[in-house]
Amino acid sequence: MSDTLAPERETRPAPPPQEPRRRRINLGNVLVEGRALVALAIIVVIFASLSPNYLQPDNLILMTRHVAMNAILAIGMLMVILNGGIDLSVGSTVGLSGVIAGYLLQGWDMPITQLVAYPPVWVVIIGAVALGALVGYVNGLLVSKLNVAPFIATLGMLYVARGIALLITNGETFTALQGEEGLGNTGFVTFLASAPLGIPMPVWFMVVFAVGFSLLLNRTAFGRWLYATGGNERAAELSGVPVKKVQTLVYVMSGFCAATVGLLLTADLPAATPRAGEFYELNAIAAVVIGGAALSGGRGTIRGTLIGAFVIGFLVDGLVLVGVSVFWQQVIKGAVIILAVAVDQLQQSFQKRRALRKVAASTNRPGSPSPA
């Protein structure tokens, strides 16, 4: 290490006073996320006034369970979107992982041998999740190594994964997921559909995923690299960031999240159907975008994404709860998504202009008439 890198830190003078400025910048960030929070607050207030049931603890837990599935998907989607990509295959991965779990629980008719294997539940879970990660890995390789546009690569995978799910089940639904004591493969449904401390398992998973991925994004080198590649891939590359590796990994993470949702959904029904998860990718993308992430990459947070998922979930369930007509539900949901993102864009261009003005004012201009 040369002396450029290891200066005498102990003796360095105290940093200049900068606390107030830092707080102001953070306030700006809070405002961006605050927009989604405001939307959520409005939704809660409206529905609470329309239905006395809305704010009952039982109902809040129920709606949060519905939110959790989309939130976990959205966390994975956020990773991809931060990278500037998109993952359209998550819905199919939900179906595929659920089907794989169902298939293994019903007994794996092993080829060649005349054996039917009954793997224990933990093997089923790990196998299904690993398969989801593998689907993501293929996406990642297509995007990073073969330079296939993310939209196209994952659109193709949407069909491939769904097709494989159909091939495995031959179009049928697996319902015998309880396992048998004698085979030692019980517990899949009872575990994943349980509610420790009164909180449903999907909600626990959402919390764990949110904390874990927050840590990943904010505290690890990978997280910083992800923001950097999404923000400016060329600059990141020249700074020594392994951009291709980062790009591949985000799809693996998205597949991992999708597979987890597949398991939770399968246990919830409880049935493994190859159609499970159809169009789930759209809600996940909407949650990420409502949460303030930029589809061009580099901007977005776990917190915002969670709020986005709550906005969608609490809105959809609220509309059902107060009995809004089926067709209006769709119109309202779409309008909220558009409104949230439009406000976001307005606010950003406003902030950018304000920042620019501030910089321009603070820079001294040699040769120009000085403002008295």
Binding site: N53, L115, P120, V320
Partner: protein, 329 residues
């Protein structure tokens, strides 16, 4: 480590990643079988909706089995109710010069052109499960009577509920014509019982997971319902799971539609009061037989082009005879 079960139970230790191929299930391929039927020797294109749904899977399996029994080769495509894809498959069938097409059409109006095109190309088309809005183009249109099915289902459900109380309805995909036909069929019967109140109608897009989620929320708004009528079995099964979780299944009577295997199991277990079986196997068999007759004799043998086959009510009493959409003896 996991256990295995076969004729001789063997314990396997190790990874799951054994060779994952080489199974010898050749029965799924649509090859030529023995030439035992009448005409035979040609190819029949089977174009269905969505084989991931057991209902249409039964349709395809029946068509393929019947055609092969009669000595035809088959090709199978699925258009997922997308008229454009249906068009492509029709074009493909024309260019392959198949001898006949068994088609489950994607939309009554949208499919007229496709059927016309095949007919113009000299390929007879036999419609199953759904009809098109014009007559005289297809050789036969064999549909199940959804309205009649909804009526018998609703009647059985009312009998179980007792003609009094609040109920909710799960509606199919709103863009699907059958969703409306079935809903109207239910309404027609239930309107005669003024003490039955439809408190909410929600769509769950034929989907089990959505059916469950919608039911969970509706139970919050209307905890005192006595019944659920559903446009299909999948949504009904989702609703049943939601009711089970809420501990309310014994106070709520659920009606399904389609008679799929999971629903049959639910009827048998007393969780679903009834479901309505569309005679898809009978209808499809009939369509293939009429295609064979037409190819051999130039006549379908049916008196009219449009043939409606009545649906069958599946209850506890007869569910034992139901096996994968087929009523056995």
């Amino acid at each position: 480590m996991f256990r295995t079960l076969t004729k001789a139970t063997v314990a396997l230790v190790g990874s799951i990643a054994l060779a994952a191929c080489g199974s010898s299930d050749a029965d799924t391929s649509a090859g030529a079988s023995g030439d035992e039927g009448g005409g035979g020797g040609g190819t029949i294109a089977v174009i269905t909706v969505d084989p991931s749904n057991p209902y249409w899977k039964a349709e395809v399996d029946t068509a393929v089995a019947e055609a092969e029994k009669l000595g035809y080769e088959t090709t199978v495509d699925a258009h997922n109710n997308d008229a454009d894809r249906q068009n492509q498959f029709i074009d493909g069938a024309i260019s392959k010069q198949v001898d006949a097409i068994i088609l489950d059409p994607a939309g009554a109006d949208e499919s007229v052109g496709a059927v016309q095109k095949a007919t113009d190309a000299g390929i007879p088309v036999f419609l199953v499960n759904a009809e098109i809005s014009e007559q005289g183009i297809a050789k036969s249109q064999i549909v199940s009577n959804n309205a009649q099915g909804a009526t018998i289902g609703a009647e059985a459900w009312v009998e179980a509920v007792g003609g009094e109380g609040k109920y909710v309805e799960l509606f199919g995909n709103p863009t699907d014509n059958n969703a409306q036909v079935r809903s109207d069929g239910y309404a027609e019967v239930l309107a005669q019982y003024p003490d039955l109140e439809l408190v909410q109608q929600e769509t769950a897009n034929w989907d089990r997971a959505e059916g469950k989620a919608k039911m969970e929320i509706m139970l919050r708004a209307h905890p005192d319902i006595v019944g659920v009528v559903s446009g299909n079995d999948e949504m009904a099964l989702g609703a049943i799971q939601a009711l089970k979780d809420a501990g309310k299944l014994d106070q709520v009577t659920v009606l399904g539609f389609d008679g799929n295997p999971d629903a049959a199991a639910a009827v048998e277990a007393g969780e679903m009061v009834a479901t309505v079986l569309q005679p898809i196997v009978d209808g499809t068999t009939l369509a293939v037989q009429q295609a064979d007759a037409f190819l051999t004799d130039g006549e379908t043998g049916a008196s009219t082009e449009k043939q409606a086959i009545d649906c069958i009510l599946i209850t506890e009493d007869n569910v034992g005879q139901l096996d994968n959409f087929v009523m056995g003896g």
